[in-house]
Chain length 494, copies 2
């Protein structure tokens, strides 16, 4: 074997342990017996320690040095660059701090879960304080030269974009979105009244039938059930166990059909990306996804651009009518109005595509301030509520529908939220490019286009370059704003 | 931490990797997407290599030496003894041979599966030849002083019992069983005719309903679904992932209710044992099961002694009548006759409790001859068919219902079959002891008795000592023969 192949073999073996952990996590969310919780946490901790040790070992660095000297093709050079980056990133944080973060966030997540149930921010506050402080320390270790701790944390999810890049992006959105949302809500006033009056939209939709529908819709987008599964979980997610095994989950509620269908379309989008990554590079950084933003662009593209389009339901609504007799009272245009309903609300995960980025904007500014030390964790609820009032015109009546609604901060995921917004923007930019290429007339062509322009490149380039190559321009908010205007505020005909 | 605790921590960490492998195997059998096969095999191989390396490391030996010096209680001494034994056993086999066996049996199992489908022994022969030769070599490495390779292989499953011990046991059974079976079949002639005439016993039994019934019966025996699951698989099995997570599977056939019910009772028995092992010693050899035979005794006790008893169906048959309308045509005495039907047959896994050990006897003698080199693999089909004719009076019409029916040999499991028989014998011996203690009047008392006398001891003693302590005598075939006579050939009244 060549040195380069030795390096890949080491990476792939590390990935086997990560596969085992991903399976154990999937299982934990979908079907693990409750009493397995403690042992499962220990199992996951052991696997994480082992992976960290393999990923920072002197042996890996030796393999990398030799492979780097030998690398001749662009792909090989890029592979080595990515491995070096991961290695440097992992080595930049003292093992003591890594362990402390794992331990603290594990406890903080449980505390968060209890605090949310009890609507008791005070109970969560000491944990939040500790997590913020540890993540600030970590951010300082991994910050780019001259960057802040928050820059460091951001770079974990979207390399190369600094706080000020994100600031600019969100300012653009802030300048446009609130006005757009107000106009849309105004435009939709009549349809909201019709929707509120239609009890058939609230079911009942039998759960086993919903599972069947979700399965059919996923298949319809191109999800390959020979290489994947669909299961039930409290919070929908997608998880690749390893090559040939990509799993998605959905949640079911008898009174809410949209919830299961759109979360299935969303997770299917994630899984289609994973199923389309370069198979021959599986288990190596180059064979992995480009970034969280690009991942989210794929889920949002299928969920929103395809899934909330008129043509999609032209094809799929007859199937729904067969599945659910109650929908016999719901004409297709009313169903379309339901899936396109826009209104400022309190909960991010239930928000529509027009207001979603405002939810993210609130989180971005608050977490930036938390990490910088400009906002004391104690003052988070007040700052949160004030932001929602200003940006969305709604106010939480308690913290469970306010600053306690997301798991992210308790899990230490500072810097993650902004990628949701970039993903939304990219989904529109990518869809526009596919449209220009004539690839949006049917789903198979669209998937094929995405495979060739996004999926197959794995992590060959960073987000801006991948997007520029695929769409002809750098990431921007323009396509998204055009999409919102044209879907929700079309010029009246004639 | 003390040295002894250091040792336990190392063992438990190794067990985490084994847990991950057990979960991955469970998943492979119950729901893995077909295209995940190759990557899953690599994942399992990596975990196995890692576990083997941790289990033979110099570090472990060091920990063991220190812990042994420190060990003061009987349990601590026994723990060290078991660890040393595993370590010596693992170190006795060269890594080269271990790897060759893993690779060869992995390929041989696939070849076996194809050969069985095609009823083509010739296609399997070269693989069998290779496996036999490698296992002979392994057996020689681990044989007790003065023992044969087959003694070595036997000791992997039932320590301390040599080929000649097993020879003696099977001779006893051979002297009694064929005659008993003939008398039983003769006694059951009328009921066989009634059973053959009753089409209601062949369903249809809807699969989802069967799953519900299996779940209820498992719960009824004491299986704790807070610490376990029941799923569907091609071949029923039970698997402990880790503490608090014990899983069983069943297979479903609309025309065969007995198949799913009795395999569920069987696997529940295995799982009850695992759920009853000493929790504080989980992940260590002392906290593990005593032997394969004792494990099998627990599954067979619930399946046969409890599950085929009159009193069991007195309680449970009304539930079946509610579940399956077709059973309305089947009086309870006919159902009982069905689950107690005895007849010489070709397939071990479908055989009744009276003939089962004859199936094992055939395999024991043939594998002993294969490993000793007294039987050439090429001559296996002829020898198999001849044994079945002699011992059971039936002859396979092709090798798929003959020597290709079991996966064991392709997987390298030579020396395993005999433990099925010892398990059968022990189930009767243990049940008799529980009966003498007045613990068989209800299932909760029985489980409690088993917990106290078998489960809670983990691997504190070897099989003979555990059994003698629990039942007052060394393992023997007497209780089993008494059970068969009293259940199937009772003296006519009056």
């Amino acid at each position: 074997m060549s040195s380069y192949e030795d390096l890949l073999a080491h990476l792939r073996e590390t990935d086997h342990f990560q596969s085992a952990a991903r399976l154990a996590q999937w299982d934990q969310e979908t079907g693990m017996p409750p009493n397995g919780e403690t042992a499962r946490a220990e199992l996951l901790a052991t696997l994480a320690r082992h992976v960290h040790s393999r990923s920072t070992s002197g042996h890996l660095r030796e393999l990398l040095e030799k492979a780097t000297q030998e690398a001749s093709t662009d792909d090989q050079k890029r592979q080595c660059e990515l491995v070096r980056r991961d290695l440097d990133r992992a080595s930049a944080v003292p093992a003591r701090l890594v362990e402390e973060i794992v331990r603290t966030t594990s406890i903080a997540q449980q505390a968060w879960s209890r605090a949310r149930k009890a609507r008791d921010f005070a109970a969560f506050l000491p944990h939040l304080r500790e997590v913020v402080s540890l993540k600030r320390e970590e951010g300082a270790c991994i910050a780019p030269p001259g960057g802040t701790p928050y820059d460091g944390l951001l770079s974990d999810y979207e390399r190369g974009m600094t706080t000020s890049d994100w600031d600019g992006l969100f300012l653009e959105l802030e300048a446009e979105l609130p006005g757009l949302v107000a106009s849309i809500v105004d435009r939709q006033r009549d349809s909201h009244a019709r929707l509120d009056a239609c009890s058939a939209l609230r079911g009942p939709f039998p759960q086993t039938k919903q599972m069947e529908t979700c399965r059919r819709l996923a298949t319809g987008l191109g999800f390959d059930f020979q290489s994947g599964r669909l299961d039930l979980s409290a919070h929908p997610f997608s998880e690749t166990v390893h090559a040939g095994d990509h799993r998605i989950t959905t949640r079911l509620d008898e009174s809410d059909l949209e919830g299961s269908l759109f979360s299935s379309l969303h997770e299917t989008g994630h899984a289609l990306y994973e199923q389309g990554l370069p198979q021959e590079l599986t288990g190596t950084p180059l064979g992995g996804y480009c970034s969280m933003s690009v991942h989210e662009s794929q889920s949002r593209l299928w969920e929103n651009l395809v899934g909330r389009s008129d043509t999609y339901w032209e094809t799929e609504y007859p199937g729904l009518l067969k599945d659910y007799s109650t929908l016999g009272y719901v004409p297709r245009d009313l169903w379309l109005a339901a899936v396109r309903r826009v209104r400022p609300s309190l909960i991010r995960t239930e928000s529509d595509e027009a207001t979603y980025n405002l939810h993210v904007l609130v989180r971005f500014r608050l977490e930036k301030a938390l990490v910088a030390g400009d906002l004391d964790p104690e003052d988070l609820p007040a700052a949160w509520n004030e932001s929602y009032r200003t940006l969305l015109g709604v106010a939480p009546s308690h913290d469970a529908e306010g600053c306690l609604q997301d798991v992210h901060w308790s899990a230490g995921l500072f810097g993650y939220f902004p990628t949701y917004t970039l993903g939304n923007l990219l989904s529109c930019q990518i869809y526009e490019a596919a449209q220009r290429a004539g690839a949006t007339n049917d789903r198979a062509s669209l998937l094929e286009w995405l495979r060739r322009n996004i999926h197959e490149h794995g992590h060959r380039w960073e987000t801006p370059e991948l997007i520029e190559r695929a769409t002809g321009s750098r990431p921007s908010s323009q396509a998204f704003l055009r999409h919102i205007r044209s879907r929700y505020l079309p010029e009246p005909l004639g």
